[in-house]
């Protein structure tokens, strides 16, 4: 057992402690808060590097390197509920990615949030989020995973609603929270079922974990309803959690709205890490997903579902992104689309394929989001791409890094990480035995990705600056919704002058991320599939000839073709013929108004949900209200009335029958007493008179007694 595996818990606990300390400190101590948060992240990053190097050292020894540690937490009857953590290549690579990206985004936030009055609160939440995310990554136990997962959801809620004074932000936070809860319900059910089936929630425990062969065999052979293996059913339930968190197709609606949060939040949570948690969950329980009676396979029912959901999400979100005008919304839909790619990769190609795209995507999407944050910051909180333009000359560094991120996302061949990871996914999809449709969907998505990114960059950085001095008054109703930025954190000055380059504290993380967005691709090329081998515990050979194999080369050429087509189309439509004013209709809108409207309104998914789910919910609530008010309430009222009537009867009997005699007697006694008391008036002579009368009576009595 290595030292770092034993003390892996330190990595999430450090930011957690930082978060707690920040929470109890005064709100004005900005420097302390930032120092604590960044310091804890630096330490966590260093520890993550230790963990990563430990896995590197042991890489190549018999199978996948994996060390687990844990402790007993709660006792239920005779069983102990264990919590624990695991160190394996998957954990290590995620740890490094999460802590590194978090660190960079923290640094960026120092500049971006510098003028926000809730600076400390922001860092408190961010640290808490980082802690929870790292906890998700190291968890060796579905329960611990779930706990951290829910904390992640909570911090997501808190950070989306960070500017809660904006109604749209509050609503978005609520929407995100509730939507992800739908998925989490599936995860919870899957977890409970898993516990019922295997008696443990530990992933790996020397052959007794629920992801190890003995438990998997039992679950595969055990059939449940509709001829489905238990493993499939549990896998699908868990996948539901991933769908919610990663914004996959039915539950993707929250992710674009989540862009109401501060841009670093969007970068950290809704691009790089949290939404990747769903993908990571599928990767973590991949043995369960791929469990098949004849050994692990890529075409189990659960993985087919993952594949289809991923492919559909990829194409769907990419098409929506084409028609958006908010810079962050374009990136948000791009994120949804890329998460679909990851799911697709997991479904068709296994853990390594999906995770490779996750890692590369984390870097270049964080880069893009931070770049968009820099743009927004420089343009005085303007988020509408139609009102930007020509920023190339105002913000050269931002432009350069943004262009790198854009090319990586678009999958520009050979030099950018996105190309290699996406190519690997497409390659795996091409080889999927079940169907070729996901492959074609993926190719179309790649084309659209290149297209909308080109459109965005062309609109933002090229042409002329379109909104100088008149942006606030003439906002169209469409953008109004997304434009109510926080008034308090305008960088440095309030004037609406020229766009400006962002400070160094924001630029440096961009540059670092840009470097990684380029370099990371080379660890997973077909010629040197180190990443694949690292995750699967196989040594990776260096083989250039694989690049030129017919299938691989053809696919690479094909995907490069799609990418170039997309880039060219985008440039032709948006780059060459720059729009002159912000109000000018989109080129596509002129060409295909109906399609554009459909895309602009995100296929009306929100409206459909409003019309179906929300309306049904409201209707059900009304029905319940009716039942409650009239049926159950009626019964209750009936009982009440009967009780009231009975008690009135009792009261009547009591008052007019039982009490009457008693009261009369009492009254008589009382009056008699009052009458008697009048005799005792304190006057001696009255007493004497009474004595006289008594004497008479006595004498008469004596005489009477004598006579009879």
């Amino acid at each position: 057992m290595t030292w770092i595996a034993q003390n892996l818990w330190l990595i999430p606990v450090l930011p957690l402690a930082a978060s707690g300390v920040i929470a109890v400190n005064k709100q004005r101590q900005h420097k302390l808060a930032a120092t604590l948060a960044i310091g804890s992240m630096v330490l966590a990053f260093l520890l993550s590097l230790c963990a990563f190097s430990a896995t590197l050292i042991h890489h190549g020894e018999s199978g996948v390197f994996r060390e687990v540690a844990g402790f007993n937490w709660l006792q239920f009857g005779g069983q102990w509920l264990q919590l624990g953590w695991v160190l394996d290549p998957l954990t290590a690579i995620m740890l490094v990615m999460v802590s590194f990206v978090s660190l960079l985004i923290f640094i960026f936030s120092v500049g971006y949030m510098a003028h926000d009055e809730n600076f400390t609160r922001f860092f408190c939440f961010m640290s808490l989020f980082a802690a929870a995310m790292l906890g998700v990554v190291i968890a060796n136990n579905l329960l611990l995973f779930f706990v951290c997962w829910e904390i992640v959801g909570l911090t997501s809620y808190l950070l989306i609603g960070f500017w809660y004074h904006k109604p749209s932000a509050a609503a978005a936070a609520k929407k995100a929270f509730i939507t992800t809860r739908i998925g989490d319900l599936g995860l919870l059910l899957g977890m409970v079922w898993l516990y019922a089936e295997t008696g443990t929630l530990n992933f790996y425990a020397d052959g007794h974990g629920c992801l190890e062969s003995s438990a998997l065999t039992a679950m595969v052979t055990h059939m449940t309803a509709a001829g489905m293996a238990v493993s499939t059913a549990i896998g699908l339930l868990i996948f539901l959690g991933a769908v919610g968190k990663s914004g996959q197709l039915p539950l993707h609606v929250w992710l674009p709205d989540a862009m109401e949060g501060p841009t670093p939040v969007s970068a950290l949570i809704h691009a790089a890490t949290m939404v990747a948690a769903g993908v990571f969950l599928v990767a973590r329980v991949y043995p369960l997903m791929s469990a098949h009676p004849e050994g692990a396979a890529a075409e189990t029912a659960a993985l087919q579902v993952v594949t289809w959901v991923g492919a559909l999400t990829a194409i769907f979100a990419a098409s929506v992104a084409v028609a958006q005008t908010d810079i962050k919304r374009i990136l948000a839909y791009s994120t949804v689309s890329q998460l679909g790619y990851m799911m697709l990769g997991l479904g068709v190609g296994g853990v390594a394929v999906g995770m490779f795209h996750l890692i590369t995507h984390a870097f270049f999407k964080a880069l893009l989001f931070l770049g968009s944050g820099s743009v927004i910051h420089g343009c005085h909180e303007e988020q509408d791409v139609r009102k930007m333009g020509g920023l190339k000359k105002f913000m050269p560094v931002t432009f350069a890094t943004y262009a790198i991120g854009m090319l990586a996302l678009a999958g520009f061949p050979l030099f950018f990480s996105g190309f290699w990871s996406k190519d690997e996914i497409l390659h795996a999809a091409h080889g999927w035995p079940v169907s070729h449709i996901p492959f074609f969907l993926g190719c179309a998505g790649a084309l659209l990705t290149a297209f909308y990114m080109t459109r965005q960059v062309a609109l933002v950085f090229f042409g002329e600056y379109r909104s100088s001095g008149r942006q606030s008054a003439h906002s169209s109703s469409k953008t109004d919704k997304h434009e109510k930025s926080a008034p308090t954190h305008v960088g440095g000055y309030d004037g609406k002058g020229e766009p400006h380059e962002s400070p160094a504290v924001m630029i440096v993380p961009l540059v670092i991320l840009a470097v990684f967005a380029i370099l990371l691709g080379f660890v997973g090329t077909p010629a040197w599939p180190w990443f694949d081998g690292f995750l699967n515990g196989e040594p990776a050979g260096f083989n250039f000839s694989k690049l030129t194999e017919s299938g691989t080369l053809g696919l690479m050429l094909a995907s490069a073709g799609f990418v170039f087509t997309g880039l060219g189309l985008g440039w032709w439509l948006y780059g060459k013929r720059q729009r002159k004013t912000a109000e000018e209709p989109d080129v596509l809108q002129v060409a295909q108004p109906a399609v554009f409207r459909l895309l602009e309104n995100k296929y009306f998914v929100d409206e459909i949900y409003d019309a179906t789910g929300v309306r049904f919910n409201a209707w059900a609530a009304q029905a319940c209200d009716f039942l409650d008010r009239w049926i159950w309430g009626g019964v209750v009222m009936l009982v009440t009335w009967v009780t009231l009537g009975l008690s009135s009867l009792y009261r009547f009997t009591d008052e007019f029958v039982v009490d009457l005699g008693f009261d009369t007697g009492c009254e008589t006694l009382r009056e008699g007493g009052g009458e008697m008391s009048r005799w005792q008036n304190g006057r001696v002579q009255t007493y004497l008179r009474v004595i006289g009368v008594a004497l008479v009576v006595l004498v008469l009595f004596l005489i009477w007694g004598r006579k009879t």
Binding site: N681, R683, V684
Partner: protein, 103 residues
């Protein structure tokens, strides 16, 4: 009418006069005098019954009267002392103004 009845009638009348005085007069001293008269009426009865009774030699009636006179003396002394005390307290001897003798 036998002498005994005569005595009894005189005694009864004396008693009634004493009672009437004690009951009707406002002055506490007069009430005390009335009571003295009633006591003496009783004494007269004792003497009469002693004189005309069956066994005058036993002297029982006379003994009772002697004790009664002694008690009456004590009663008069205490009563008058009370009246003086009351007078000091209330600055009056009018019985209708002294009405605190109740619960």
């Amino acid at each position: 009418m036998t002498p005994l009845q005569g005595c009894l009638l005189v005694s009864a009348l004396l008693f009634a006069i004493g009672l009437a005085g004690a009951v009707t007069r406002r002055n506490a001293i007069l009430a005390l005098i009335g009571i003295e008269l009633m006591l003496n009426a009783a004494n007269l009865n004792f003497i009469a019954f002693w004189r005309y009774g069956a066994h005058p030699e036993a002297l029982s009636g006379m003994m009772v009267v002697i004790f009664s006179i002694a008690i009456a003396a004590a009663e008069a002394a205490v009563g008058l002392a009370l009246i003086i005390a009351i007078y000091r307290h209330y600055k009056t001897t009018n019985l209708d103004q002294i009405n605190s003798m109740k619960g």
